[in-house]
């Protein structure tokens, strides 16, 4: 009986990535331009901070005024004492609400540069707003996400229980390779992490991430599922690089850097089981499934039975005949030695997939 063979790291030649400005601005490139990862595609003026301050008494500023940090915004009286309201930031007063007694200040705009992050060709442009690039990337596909995406620097962690410095997490995308719990989730959110990639998480945590619009990518399913070692090793090797967590397509994209292929290189066509050139089972470059084949001893596999759901292991024996499981079901099976704890278990062929 044949089993699915899966790739967990896929090389993609045709990836479409939209790079957007946070506000309306200027796009420098045009359709058909070739870009490299450090190219500036466009720019916009962006205020990074905005505050609303309650005031009392008489105002000392008006709309359009520039203020510095600690400048007096108003004087009032409180318990027979003079009370000053000070500006917490440098910026511009852009609105005053006399009814609500609030002053709105935004920081002075700074120039935001839209860095490509990817090597590729400009496929299309939304004037003043975004650029669609056609590029090459390595994809690590998942099965579930919170639906939201983010881009940024990737960092890899196994355990964050001893970590207290938010600088390692703030603004970054974290691959958490071990058992992901609610405590870990809350800590990452508290530290300002931009997004998280895990083997699995409880369904209630994913619900929370969806409600909080927090980008999360689950590679294998629900529950505490470790990330398989090949993926961890690969992502550790590219730690610190710019990546995109894409919620809608449930994948992590890593830009490819370097000379584009000439097109003559051997491409992975997948395993062909059919005769005749028009009856090939193609593995699309974007497809995780390579094909189906009989398992052999030594194959690395992922098992899908509790309590080892999503664990990886090695086939050490293939049973000639169907075996009977505790559930009284008879099935074709293999014996697997689990990588994590070296335990040997029998697994029905329906409950494994071979890792390429």
């Amino acid at each position: 009986m044949k089993v699915a063979v899966i790739k967990n790291i896929i090389e993609r030649e045709d990836v479409y990535i939209e790079r957007s400005l946070p506000n309306d601005g200027i796009i420098f490139v045009k359709k058909g331009d070739r870009v490299s990862p450090l190219d500036n595609l466009g720019s916009a003026e962006v205020s990074y901070a905005s505050v609303a301050i309650s005031f009392t008494g008489s105002l000392k500023v008006s709309v359009g005024d520039s203020v510095a940090e600690n400048d007096v915004l108003s004087y009032g009286m409180k318990r027979l004492k003079r009370e000053k309201v000070l500006s917490p930031i440098h910026g511009e007063v852009y609105r005053i609400d006399n009814k609500e007694k609030k002053i709105y200040i935004r920081s002075f705009p700074q120039e935001y540069e839209l860095i490509s992050g990817f090597e590729g060709v400009v496929e299309n442009i939304a004037e003043g707003r975004s650029v669609l690039l056609k590029s090459r990337a390595t994809s690590v596909p998942g099965v579930l996400s919170s639906g939201f995406g983010v881009s940024g620097e990737l960092v890899v962690f196994e355990d964050i229980s001893g970590e207290d410095n938010r600088k390692y997490f703030e603004g970054k995308i974290v691959l958490f390779s071990r058992n992901f719990s609610e405590d870990v989730y809350k800590k990452l959110v508290k530290f300002g992490t931009s997004g998280v990639v895990v083997g699995g998480m409880d369904s209630c945590i994913l619900e929370e991430a969806k409600n909080e619009k927090f980008p999360a990518l689950l590679l294998y399913g629900y529950g505490k599922i470790p990330v398989i070692s090949k993926v961890v090793e690969y992502l550790r090797s590219i730690q610190g690089r710019f990546v995109i967590l894409r919620g809608e397509t449930k994948e992590l994209l890593i830009p490819k850097i370097g000379k584009k292929g000439t097109g003559n290189e051997k491409r992975d066509e997948g395993t062909s089981y059919l005769e005749g050139k028009d009856r090939k089972l193609h593995s699309l470059e974007s497809s995780q499934l390579i094909g189906f084949r009989e398992p052999v001893a030594g194959d690395l596999v992922q098992v899908f039975i509790r309590p080892f759901f999503g664990w990886e292991g090695e086939i050490i024996k293939i049973y000639d005949k169907m075996i009977k499981f505790e559930s009284k079901i008879y099935a074709h099976a293999v014996r697997v030695r689990l990588r994590k704890n070296k335990e040997e278990i029998d697994v029905a062929l329906r409950n494994i997939r071979i890792l390429e």
Binding site: L144, Y222, R279, S287, I329
Partner: protein, 351 residues
């Protein structure tokens, strides 16, 4: 006449190859790609047919009609010279009434349902403690990995609980009259095929179907219902010539009356048997599939009623439980009840 009928599910393609009316072969080609994005479905059919050719050593393309029905046919319409049907249209017109339970859909008699499963209700069928979080994770993972089969006892118990809840959730607002079901019901589907033991299947069905009267149940052990129904839809004469080779197992019959009853049973022996069966019980008598049993049911609250049923692997079961079953009782009482019902059909449970 030769024909290939493919039931294209999410987890596997089940193929019934009719080589000639006296010779049929079944093959299951596992797919299990539910989670894999961007699968090129255009070539999927090629793969399935090539596997069947290899396994059967028979040339199929261009040599015989290919019929496809199933949950997973969306991408296949218009491809090559194949006849594509929805599961619904073939099951609706099948000679036997059906109860077919697939991953996302349930077919009962001539209707289609999309059951929604409540994890809290699943827990009520279990005789062990499974946390809500863990159970929810399991149920959600089953949607992604629909091909996996339960290996351990607890997984199996959860599968049968899901089966019951799918039926209950689908049929709770549907009234149907068992007396109008004149033929045995065929039970089938990817969920049913994972519940291997006949006693467990029988109990799962009668636990969740709400009716009074008699019902005979056939079990589609080889999961060929969709194949057979597609063949019947396409060429009824061919279907009739192969029907006897299809492995529809007679599980038995259930007589459901939610009262204290006395059953007068005529097994064709010298004397009739009399059984007093109190309300809220399950009682089975061993009767094989070829034996016709005549039963007269006496109860204080209704006129005597006569039934004639055939037996099967489970036999003839008298079910005097009030339906739908009330499991909203304290945990210990509930476990005791579930155990009692299982034991009355000679089944063990997984704790």
């Amino acid at each position: 006449m030769s024909i290939l009928s493919i039931d294209l599910g999410i987890d596997a393609a089940r193929c019934l190859l009719v080589i000639k009316p006296g010779e049929i072969k079944n093959f299951e080609i596992p797919l299990g790609f539910a989670t894999i994005p961007n699968i090129n479905r255009k070539y999927l059919l090629d793969y399935i047919v090539s596997e069947v050719e290899e396994l059967s050593s028979i040339k199929i393309w261009g040599e015989m009609p290919i019929l496809i029905a199933g949950e997973n046919i969306r991408a296949l319409r218009g491809i090559r010279e194949v006849n594509v049907y929805t599961l619904y249209e073939v099951l609706k017109s099948f000679e036997y009434p059906v109860l077919d339970i697939e991953r996302d859909v349930l077919f009962f008699l001539d209707k289609m349902f999309f059951p929604i499963i409540d994890p809290n209700r699943i827990r009520k069928w279990l005789t062990f403690n499974e946390s809500k979080v863990s159970l929810k994770n399991r149920l959600e993972n089953l949607k992604i990995y629909s091909q996996i089969i339960p290996q351990y006892g607890r997984d199996f118990s959860i599968s049968t609980a899901i089966l019951r809840e799918k039926i209950l959730n689908s049929l709770k607002l549907v009234s149907w009259d068992a007396s109008e079901v004149k033929k045995p019901i065929v039970v089938s589907g990817s969920f049913i095929s994972k519940v291997y033991d006949p006693g467990n299947i029988f109990l799962s069905i009668i636990d969740s179907l709400v009716f009074s009267g008699k019902l005979e149940i056939l079990f589609d052990r080889d999961h060929v219902l969709a194949n057979a129904a597609a063949i019947s839809f396409y060429d009824n004469k061919l279907y009739k010539s192969i029907y006897s080779q299809l492995n529809f197992i007679a599980l038995g019959a259930v007589i459901a009356v939610s009262e204290d009853i006395t059953a007068e049973i005529d097994l064709g022996l010298d004397k009739k048997q009399k059984l007093d069966i109190p309300k809220n019980s399950l009682y089975s008598i061993p009767v094989d599939k070829n034996s016709l049993v005549k039963v007269k049911i006496h109860s204080e609250k209704m006129d005597p009623f006569n039934y004639e049923v055939f037996g099967g692997e489970v036999g003839v079961v008298f079910d005097t439980r009030e339906k739908p079953l009330n499991l909203d009782v304290p945990v210990r009482s509930r476990i005791k009840l579930l155990d009692k019902w299982r034991k009355s059909l000679g089944m063990e449970h997984f704790a």
